[in-house]
Amino acid sequence: MAYLPNLLFLSLLIVSLYIFFRNLKKIKRNIGLGRYVNRNNNSNARLKNMLRVAFGQSKMGSRPVAAILHFIVYVGFILINIELLEIILDGILGRHRIFAPFLGVIYDYLISIFEILAFLVLIAVFFFWTRRNVVRLKRFFSPETIGWPTLDANNIIYFEVVLMFLFLFMNATDMLLQDANVDSYVKTGIFPISQFLKPLFIDLSIDNLIFFERVFWWLHITGILIFLNYLYYSKHLHILLAFPNTYYANLESNGKFDVDSSIKDEVQLILNPGKEINVETTPPDKFGATDIFDLNWIQLMNAYSCTECGRCSNVCPANLTGKKLSPRAIMMKTRDRLEEVSKNLDKNNGNFINDNKQLLNDYISPEELWACTSCNACVEECPIEINPLSIIMDMRKYLTLEKSAAPAELNLMMNNIENNGAPWPFSNQDRLEWVEE
């Protein structure tokens, strides 16, 4: 019976980690549904890019207030997780503050730092909540954020508040038990934040204090494990995927769009009908993208990584002038469709059964796609280097090459290029007229 809590904890931990890793595997499988592109080159530059952009958050700086608040939560998240290691060991071994005797004064400092961070996180999260719910920042309210995305965003905030308070309550009751010289409550120094919460519990009997301390301890770790498994369903997944997403980001010029070299030979044949050309490459079955299977794995990882912050849409010239296009919505819809496909696969033993749906039209409309100016503002703005533009261009490619469904004026422009080598109906013979004017 004495080991019951340990066993209970261990089962909770194992079940949580099992579900978490099963979902991670699912994400990996789903990302793998995309076309393969090689992004394994240049690993040094990639590592540096990841350290700078994801770890160092270099692209957050353009909005200083958000950057500072976000940085607090981010550092808090990473450092307070060190404490998690102790909590897990305590849970498994049935000990309390297992590191305290080993670390001595250093332990007190560490917990003090964690508490101060927890307090700062609470302040930061308060501002985040205010921005969303009181100030109602415009970029958080778009057609694509109605419903789950807004609920999700607030859920994350509430999770963080509850977890931080549980951590502080746990320490406050712990300190009272230390003051009362209760066995097994290791003596530590005075904690900087939770000491002020002691009055809340000061009237409790020792038994009740122990009960509350345990309840806070259990709720805190259970909350963390629930939060861990919430990630898969949430935009908060970016805390994990921001790292691979920046590692595998495009390191070349933003202006360089994918060149489909598989059709080069065929184009040569058209240009030189008489000439013998060895055709080495096979053109793809389908040009461009209609569904997530046609996108590449980077684009699908991008979709899972998106934090829905809306900075992209906030700078998109089309979105700013009231067009239907929103780069954020492009990413969110891609993720939604990917999840739909994922459920289909789960239901059918890993085989995709045609559901007569696709990303194009069922999720993303041509009207959105044709509103893009390819200006790269969204790509430049994304704090974790997501590229909505590449998805837009791939879908345009399908519309134009497979469906001849480009807007009529663009067809006219392309006819002109084909016939006289310029997007306007001028004769190529007049190319030098400007010299004489």
């Binding site: 202006g255 360089k256 058209i270 240009l271 509103a371 100016t373 503002a377 490619k397 030098l432 400007w434």
Partner: protein, 261 residues
């Protein structure tokens, strides 16, 4: 003024080599407003006797608008034709006054076998100044309030932000920056083949939004470095009825006109 322009094929026939090829672009060849930019740039090249040539009738669209409109096939047809012509003459260096041609030639031709050193004219002019080959004189723009509109395909696409600005400063212009500039600059609305179609339904035209941003800093001149931006911003100031007070000039035009008496 009579311009001194040769085609690669003529010079080749005479057995002459050139230092650089000027890629004029479709806009620079056919659009009335853009032709003035082309002439201004050539005027500068002629003044300092740069040994250059153009492709003339052998030049054809780089394929940029086709590719951005989703037509990879047409893009590659254009690209391979152009690469064939450029390689026929052994071209190594290209300068162009259009950021779209610049981007395509520089970034998208190498994968199809076309490898050239490509410059945007603002980079090239700045290099000429740095090498002491071109000197800017004249007080025409001294103290004039000039704001520079970054072309997306020069700025964000290729990270060229300083070359055009340094040229404006060298002209002693009073360079004022819009609230969104450089990597944050707002598009003029023409990129991605939008130049050739009407915009989708919305509540405003993009060029009007950008023009309003420019007008906020009360410039006398809006400097551009792209023929499409030039068109969009010109339409913008006409729409705002300030085209009598404010002028849109390409950076090359500013330099070419600076020496006028």
């Amino acid at each position: 003024m009579k311009l001194n322009v040769h085609t690669l094929s003529d010079l080749n026939a005479e057995g002459k080599k050139v230092d650089i090829v000027f890629w004029v672009g479709c806009s620079g060849s056919f659009d009335d407003r853009a032709k003035k930019i082309t002439r201004a740039f050539v005027k500068i090249l002629n003044q300092i006797k740069i040994n250059f040539a153009v492709l003339g009738t052998e030049e054809t669209c780089t394929g940029d608008p086709a590719k951005r409109a989703g037509n990879e096939f047409l893009f590659q047809m254009q690209a391979l034709q152009n690469i064939g012509n450029l390689d026929k003459y052994g071209v190594k260096k290209i300068v162009t006054t259009c950021p779209h041609c610049f981007n395509t030639l520089k970034n998208e031709y190498p994968e199809l076998g076309g490898n050239y050193k490509v410059f945007h004219h603002t980079q090239y002019l700045k290099d000429l100044i740095d090498q002491g080959l071109l000197t800017l004189s004249g007080k025409k723009y001294k103290g004039k309030k000039i704001t520079f509109h970054d072309p997306c395909y020069l700025g964000r696409a290729n990270k060229v932000y300083e070359a055009p600005r340094e040229l404006i400063k060298k002209l002693s212009g009073d360079l004022v920056e819009m609230k969104s500039c450089k990597s944050k600059a707002l598009c003029c609305g023409a990129g991605g083949a939008q130049m050739f179609k009407d915009a989708e339904k919305g509540n405003k035209e993009i060029n009007i939004e950008r023009t309003e941003q420019a007008l906020e800093v009360k410039p006398e001149i809006i400097a551009a470095a792209c023929p499409f931006c030039n068109t969009m911003m010109s339409d913008g100031i006409k729409n705002k009825e300030v085209d009598r007070k404010i002028k849109i000039y390409d950076v090359a035009e500013l330099i070419a006109n600076a020496k006028d008496p």
